[in-house]
Structures are given as structure tokens and as C-alpha cells.
């Protein structure tokens, strides 16, 4: 299936070639009071790749995503996105710069229809600001139609035509995850962050989701960073894997490298280091 994004947006195009560094994270440390969630972690995400972040529970994976999209502000370290270093960025600014995400516990607008949920994803691509939209209905409606067309393509792509009018809170878990992916895709992101996109899914749903993730990556060239617990899925999907344990980076490389890494094996098997 070939899908072209509408001309309404195009906000997040950049002139980076595939393989160039899209996001650079340097020496990030984040703590909450006395709890050190992330300690001195550096890594990068290259344009066009699928980058996995794995690690045991509490390793700091979600914290890292929250740092990248601006929910958390690290005490130390820098983040450079598309060549620009940034300071204390708020989440909606991150979104405007082309970072979209999904959440571990699904953060859909539960009272709103699937269509409306995905339409909110277009928010950053609106050419005019919200006040303008509130005051001049006619031209705003024209723009709305363009966004609607783009959203319909995403609905097609994710095969959720039948539920487009259903309030998202009423959908089964697996479909909610899919709608959330749709909302993130609607923003035509330069970087898509997926926090456990397959958690709680059955095998069939996992296969569907894996296929969507690969399709997004191949067809649109979207760079994806994902957190996932299912090792089989991670190793199949990703180009490179970073491993966190207790807030520290203990491994980074291709799936094969990581699989052979002694520290990683120990962390996952819970073996102590004094052998």
C-alpha cells in the first residue's frame, strides 16, 4: 500500500539523510529526590532506524522516553534533536518539533471517537493557531477537510475503518493501542516513540502491531524508538538495541551484539557480578 501524507503539513520534513543522527542524548542524569532514575546515559537515534530500548522493570526506559519528549527535565546532560540542542522543553513543543509518542498505559481521549482522537494528532500541523480557528469558521473548515483526508488514510492503513465513530474508551485493549499509534502517526512525526506497544497483547495482536511498526518504518521512513519487553519482537524488529539496568546503560548495539553481551545476560538472568 502506498500512502502519501497530505500537503497540509510537511512541517517535520528535514534534510537529514537516512543514517544520519536524528537525536543525540549526551550524559543524561535524572533523579527524583534521592531516586536516581537515569545515570549518565548517552546514546543516539539515527534517521530511518528502529531503535529499541530494553531492560528489566524500573531500569529507566520510560523515564528516558519522558526525557526525550519533554515530560521530564533531566538535571544533567544535553539532548540534540535534528542538530539543535534544547533546554527544558515542554511536551507540546517537542510535539511541534516532530516527536510523537504512545504511552505504556494508553492515554487516549476516552470520551472522544476514534476519528476525533486521531484528528487531535494533526494539531501540530494546523497552519493557523487555535484562536484563529475559533473565530473564522469557513477557512478553518477547509483546512479541517485536508486533515480529515490524511486521517482517513491512516485509518485505512491501520485497518480500523469499522470503529472510526466508536468512543475510544469502549474499544478492546489491542484496538486502543492501535488507535493510539494512529494518533501518533497523524502528526507525521520525525521521531515516533512507542512505549511498550505490544504490552498485554495476544500473539495475533502482537503480529499485527509488529507489521504496522515495520510498515510505518519502511513506507514512510519514520524513525522509531520503542520500549518492549518481548525479546523475540525486539530482536526481530529493531536495527539497534540499547539496554538499561538500574538507570545505567549496560549494552548498545545490533540485536546480535546485545544478545551476546555478558552484562545484558546477567541483568536479565539476575546473576551477580562477582563471578
Amino acid at each position: 500500500m502506498n500512502m502519501h501524507y497530505s500537503s497540509a503539513g510537511g512541517a517535520h520534513r528535514d534534510n537529514l539523510a537516512k543514517g544520519e543522527t536524528l537525536l543525540q542524548v549526551d550524559n543524561i542524569s535524572l533523579s527524583f529526590g534521592g531516586v536516581k532514575a537515569i545515570q549518565d546515559v548517552s546514546f543516539d537515534i539515527k534517521k530511518g532506524e528502529i531503535r529499541a530500548i530494553i531492560g528489566p522493570n524500573g531500569a529507566g526506559k520510560t523515564s528516558m522516553l519522558n526525557v526525550i519528549n519533554g515530560f521530564y527535565h533531566p538535571q544533567e546532560g544535553t539532548i540534540t534533536f535534528r542538530g539543535k540542542e534544547r533546554r527544558r522543553m515542554r511536551p507540546h513543543v517537542a510535539a511541534q518539533q516532530g516527536i510523537s509518542r504512545t504511552f505504556q498505559n494508553i492515554a487516549l481521549f476516552k470520551g472522544m471517537s476514534v476519528l476525533d482522537n486521531i484528528m487531535t494528532g494533526r494539531m501540530t500541523l494546523q497552519k493557523r493557531n487555535m484562536l484563529w480557528h475559533a473565530l473564522w469558521h469557513g477557512p478553518a473548515q477547509m483546512e479541517e477537510l485536508e486533515h480529515r483526508a490524511a486521517v482517513e488514510k491512516i485509518i485505512d492503513f491501520l485497518e480500523i475503518e469499522a470503529i472510526r465513530k466508536t468512543p475510544s474508551g469502549r474499544l478492546p485493549y489491542g484496538l486502543q493501542k492501535r488507535v493510539e499509534l494512529g494518533r501518533a502517526l497523524a502528526a507525521e512525526p520525525a521521531l515516533l516513540l512507542l512505549d511498550e506497544p505490544m504490552a498485554g497483547m495476544n500473539l495475533e495482536e502482537k503480529e499485527d502491531m509488529s507489521r504496522f511498526i515495520l510498515d510505518v518504518n519502511h513506507q514512510f521512513g519514520t524513525t522509531i524508538a520503542l520500549i518492549e519487553h518481548d525479546m523475540g519482537v525486539v530482536m526481530d524488529l529493531s536495527d539497534r538495541v540499547m539496554v538499561l539496568d538500574y538507570g545505567r546503560k549496560i549494552g548498545d548495539g545490533t540485536p546480535d551484539d546485545v544478545r551476546k553481551n555478558r552484562d545484558v545476560i546477567d541483568a536479565y538472568l539476575g546473576v551477580s557480578h562477582d563471578d
Binding site: 510535539a95 470520551g111 487531535t120 501540530t124 487555535m130 484562536l131
Partner: protein
């Protein structure tokens, strides 16, 4: 129809229209509560402030004249014959938007992620500030607000209803205040307009998104602060409408800010998060109040209107704490 039955209809009609006036105030509360979880204690004072400003602009009062006169020994009071009503309403609306922006800048911005009780306290402070500021700006005397709405009983309706009565009985027709009818029409237009705005515009969708989930809203690129300014502006607009209606009915005076207290039982009945709830809640309170006054009042010596709404709300809290249309709160343990 018997006179007793016609009386009943008259009471219900008047109750419905009184209820709409309560709904107007409750609506402002719901809008802000939905979008930001703040119970805005200042909503009533915002209505008062809007009404004061409108009268001031309309009659050409010099703002802060008492203060200026006290400092410089001048004798300022009016700068002319005032603005045309439409212009005065537009300027007042502009001021309410400015107020929303200032509130966001000065108060809300610094209280992001605080406990709801802290924000509630802040709005109490805001209420007192705004009341004092309104007093300083426009003076504390009772003012007459006339924006050209019809008032007084409708003679036509009296004539029509007089013919409904059974032959031979003594009946003088129903009394309906034309101002109440106007207020009801305006309220209906307002509610339909707000619903359409929230359902069919991109901004409305953003408002609903923020009301649903703050974190997700931020992640799709919605700026909470922009939304708050918009929401408080809309609440300011609703306050202006409520101020115009209440001000036309009973004069612009500082007791106007107390209508906020009448909105409380309406909110408890309808649910804090539901716009239809605010409307239905207002109607139930309005009708209940008038019926109780007319039929139970004589038995207990009257003045039921003063406490009936609160008793009803209290009884309702025991049965359905989330209100008729409110979101059910399920605490996960």
C-alpha cells in the same frame, strides 16, 4: 382547565426560566472545571465584574474615578454620554479575554501540577481581588443595567392564558416576565453555540482533548496554557452573559457575586463535568424551588426558596455523588 392547574403551569414555567438563570452561572463553572479541574470560586464575581464594566462603559463612567479624585483632588465622574450598547458589550468582552490572559500569566502558570485545593484557594483569592478591583474601578453603588432587553409582564400571554380557563371561574391570566423569556432564549442560543463549537471545530476538539487527558493532550502538541486562556475567556464570556441577564433583572450590585453560591447545588445535581448537566440541574432546581415555595411554603411559613436548593443537593449527594451526568469516579485500589 381549572385555575389551580393553570397556576401550577405558571409556577413550573417561571421555575424553568429561573432555572435557566442558574444554569448560566453553573455553565461557567463546568467549562473551567472540565478543562482544568479547577473549581473557579470567582465565576460569580466575574459575572459581577463584567456587568459593572458594561454599565460603566455604557454610561461613560471614568474608571477608578474615586481613586483619581482622592489622589489629585479632581472631580471626575463621567467622560461623556457613554458608548453604544453593542460597542460596550464588545469592549467588555475584550476586557474579559484580557482578564483570562492575566489570570493565566499571574496565577495559573505558577500553580501547574498543584493540588486542586491549592488552585481552589487561589480562585477564592481571585474572587476577593476582583470584587475589590471592580469596586475601585467602577464604584460600589447599585447600578441599573439596560441593554434594551424587554422587561415586565407579558400582557399578550396574560390574554391568551385567560381564555384557557374553564368558563365561569375567576382567573386573570399567567404572569410571565418578558426578561425571563429573553434570558431563556439567549441561554439556549449560548448552549447550542458552545456545544457546536466544542463538537465541530478544531479548537473545540483540543478543548475536549485537554478535558479528557492532560498528558496525552500535551503529547499531541496542545499547549495547556493556550487552552486555559481560551477556556477562561469562554468562561468570561459566559460570565458576561450571566452578568447582563442578572444585572438587567435585579440591578448591578455586589450581591450579584453571591449567585455563584446558587450555582453550587446546580453543579452537584448536574455533575461538575457536564454541560447538559448544568442545564438540567438548573432547571430542576428552578422548578423544584418554585413548586416547593408555592405548595410546601405555606405549611412551614415560607422562604423555602432560600434553602430548598441546598437540601435537594444534599439529598442528591447521598444517592448519586457524581451528579446526574457527571463522570463516575472509580477509585482503583
Amino acid at each position: 382547565m381549572s385555575p389551580a392547574f393553570l397556576n401550577f403551569i405558571e409556577i413550573v414555567l417561571n421555575g424553568l426560566m429561573a432555572g435557566i438563570m442558574y444554569s448560566l452561572v453553573a455553565l461557567g463553572f463546568v467549562l473551567i472545571f472540565k478543562a482544568s479541574g479547577i473549581f473557579n470560586f470567582a465565576q460569580g464575581v466575574m459575572a459581577l465584574f463584567a456587568a459593572l464594566t458594561l454599565v460603566g462603559l455604557q454610561t461613560g463612567q471614568v474608571p477608578f474615578s474615586h481613586l483619581i479624585n482622592a489622589i489629585f483632588g479632581t472631580e471626575l465622574h463621567h467622560w461623556g454620554s457613554g458608548l453604544h450598547t453593542v460597542l460596550a458589550i464588545l469592549f467588555t468582552m475584550a476586557l474579559m479575554i484580557l482578564l483570562a490572559w492575566v489570570i493565566e500569566r499571574v496565577v495559573l502558570k505558577h500553580l501547574v501540577n498543584q493540588e486542586p485545593i491549592i488552585l481552589f484557594m487561589a480562585t477564592i483569592g481571585l474572587a476577593y481581588f476582583l470584587e475589590g478591583f471592580g469596586d475601585l474601578m467602577w464604584g460600589s453603588d447599585v447600578k441599573v443595567l439596560d441593554v434594551g432587553l424587554p422587561s415586565g409582564g407579558s400582557l399578550w400571554w396574560e390574554d391568551v392564558t385567560r381564555t384557557w380557563v374553564t368558563e365561569g371561574s375567576e382567573y386573570w391570566g399567567m404572569y410571565i416576565d418578558r426578561l425571563d423569556v429573553a434570558a431563556t432564549s439567549v441561554a439556549v442560543i449560548l448552549v447550542v453555540g458552545l456545544s457546536a463549537f466544542s463538537q465541530y471545530t478544531a479548537t473545540g476538539r483540543a478543548l475536549r482533548a485537554v478535558a479528557d487527558d492532560h498528558q496525552a493532550a500535551m503529547s499531541v502538541g496542545i499547549s495547556l496554557r493556550t487552552i486555559w486562556v481560551i477556556v477562561w475567556s469562554i468562561a468570561g464570556f459566559v460570565a458576561l452573559v450571566a452578568g447582563i441577564m442578572w444585572g438587567s433583572k435585579s440591578g448591578v450590585q455586589f450581591s450579584l457575586s453571591l449567585i455563584a453560591l446558587k450555582a453550587l447545588p446546580v453543579l452537584i445535581l448536574g455533575g461538575f463535568t457536564s454541560i447538559p448537566g448544568a442545564i438540567v440541574g438548573g432547571l430542576i432546581i428552578g422548578v423544584g424551588e418554585k413548586l416547593a415555595e408555592a405548595y410546601v411554603g405555606p405549611l412551614v411559613g415560607g422562604a423555602i426558596e432560600n434553602w430548598f436548593a441546598y437540601m435537594l443537593a444534599l439529598a442528591f449527594l447521598l444517592v448519586r455523588p457524581q451528579g446526574l451526568f457527571g463522570d463516575r469516579i472509580i477509585e482503583r485500589i
